[in-house]
Amino acid sequence: MPSSSLTDPRHPLQPIGPTVGLYVWQYPLRLFHWGMVLSIAVLSFTGYYIHDPFIVGQVKYPFLMGWFRFVHETFGMIFLALFLMRIALFFQGNRWVGWRQYVPLHVSQWKEMVNVMKFYGFINPKPVSKIGHNAMAAFSYLGIYAVVLAEIVTGLVLYNRLRHSAVLAPLVGWIPGVVNVQNLRLIHFLLMFVFIAFGVFHVHLCMLISRVEKRGLMDSIFIGYKVIPQDELEEEQKKAIAERS
């Protein structure tokens, strides 16, 4: 006969004290996030086809490669727009998406990274719980933004070679004179795999932390809210005031 208790003995209750639902991820950031997911998926698929056209000799669609390239270029522009939006959010977004969180200028951020790595390496049983990103996550996102920028620049160089755009030519037209265009193509292609590897890492670590933390981390990227203990919020508030003054 099943127990009438609602608690599973293998998963005891996890008291976390008084909490609040805090709106952490504003909608532009969530739009950026899911826009990136979509555009990286589309760009990777179409880009891989452009690299190695695996559908050969069909007669049904007489503009197949043309369509792949059109979709790739269109989503490339969406990708660029999302990146510019993210740059704006560094300066216009809330505390947890501002650039200070991402650039490790303070020793405390480096110490936090070590603690995060200790959790990943099974040395510490508890993760570093933060309202926004932990220092390690934030730093890795800064790295992935650099990859995004490299992908955009190499992509624009290749685009400009075909389009001879009056806007792009002065911006990126000089780059093939420094780095050969074939190497730019190689970089553009190889960085795609960095995104895919990052995606695998990212989903795994988010699931892991969400499971241990039990603060609705996975939910937060959909709804914006995270479950935050009241005392942590107060501490963060004090820190924010101290930084402001």
């Binding site: 998963h11 005891p12 209750l13 996890q14 008291p15 976390i16 004290g17 690299h51 190695d52 056209p53 559908i55 050969v56 000799g57 069909q58 669609y61 007489p62 503009f63 197949l64 490669m65 043309g66 990943y120 099974f122 049983p125 508890k126 070679r161 075909l162 000089w174 004179g177 050969n180 265009v181 074939q182 190497n183 193509r185 190689l186 292609f189 190889l190 795609m192 795999f193 960095v194 895919i196 590897a197 695998v200 890492f201 795994h204 670590l205 699931m207 892991l208 241990v212």
Partner: protein, 332 residues
Amino acid sequence: MPERYLAQTVAAVGKARKPVLVWLQFQDCTGCSESILRSSHPDVADVVLDLLSWEYHEVIMAGAGGYANALLDRIVKNEKGKYLVVVEGAIPTAEGGIHCMINGHTALEIAERVCRNAAATIAVGACAFDGGLVRAKPNPTGALGVQEAVPGLKVINMAGCPHNPVNTAAVLVHYLTFNDLPALDQYNRPLFAYGRIIHDQCERRAHYDAGRFVTEWGDEGHRKGWCLYKMGCKGPAATFNCPVVQWNDHTSWPIRAGHGCIGCASPRFWDTMSPFYDRLPSVPGFGVEVTAGEIGMALVGATVAGVTAHGLITMIKPAPKPPVEPEERKEA
């Protein structure tokens, strides 16, 4: 050239005083000379006999030895600042430039003397443009193109392996007509010939857009003349007017003949456009047999394996104890 310049061109070409042309040849295969001999717009007889006073060209001139040397000396002295010089071949700079010497002078000395005193220098072929084959890794002779070996010249580069004689003849006629060189790109190549991507002018482009590709030499697609993209054609990376002017009196050109473009008119093409039969360069440090795609797949595979292992360890390890309750914290 537009038709409205016809009268001007005819007048210029018919001028009494013909400019002297000197053709220097250094480290190369003579392919560029061979190529100009096959020029038909105008043909080489017209150029040599009517358009220019083509006085010095080791391959085709009648004179030799002391007579030829004296002729070159006389041109440099008497026609100073007025004659045109065409350079074919790379200029070696290693070990004092001894790897190419004519009449006891290094190629570098000859180029310095002849090009510095010329009205303009036309560097024909990949070797004279940027060192070409001679400069390809490991470049044992320290070969350089003319504009690098003799900096500061008024130079126009007719890149390509070989140069296309139609373009070179066009530059000569342009010079005769306007007494100046045509508009140049960032590599000093004339824009009229090197301004557009080969891929955009290619007769097989429709097959590319439709996704009809050759996947193996001699396969059905190859016999039908489909796009050579998957065979490593560098048409999308290279600029040249090859598809338009073609070769040997507009007979054919590499892609029509069924071979992918190797980007011969692009800077340092032996190093930058190879491997010629692969779409992308080999990744440094991985050897030539490993493609970029394989490296990427391996990276993703390793990541998946890594996170799977990490996830499994997390599941095997007991879940962390519940956090200390706030009441207990107060007591402690």
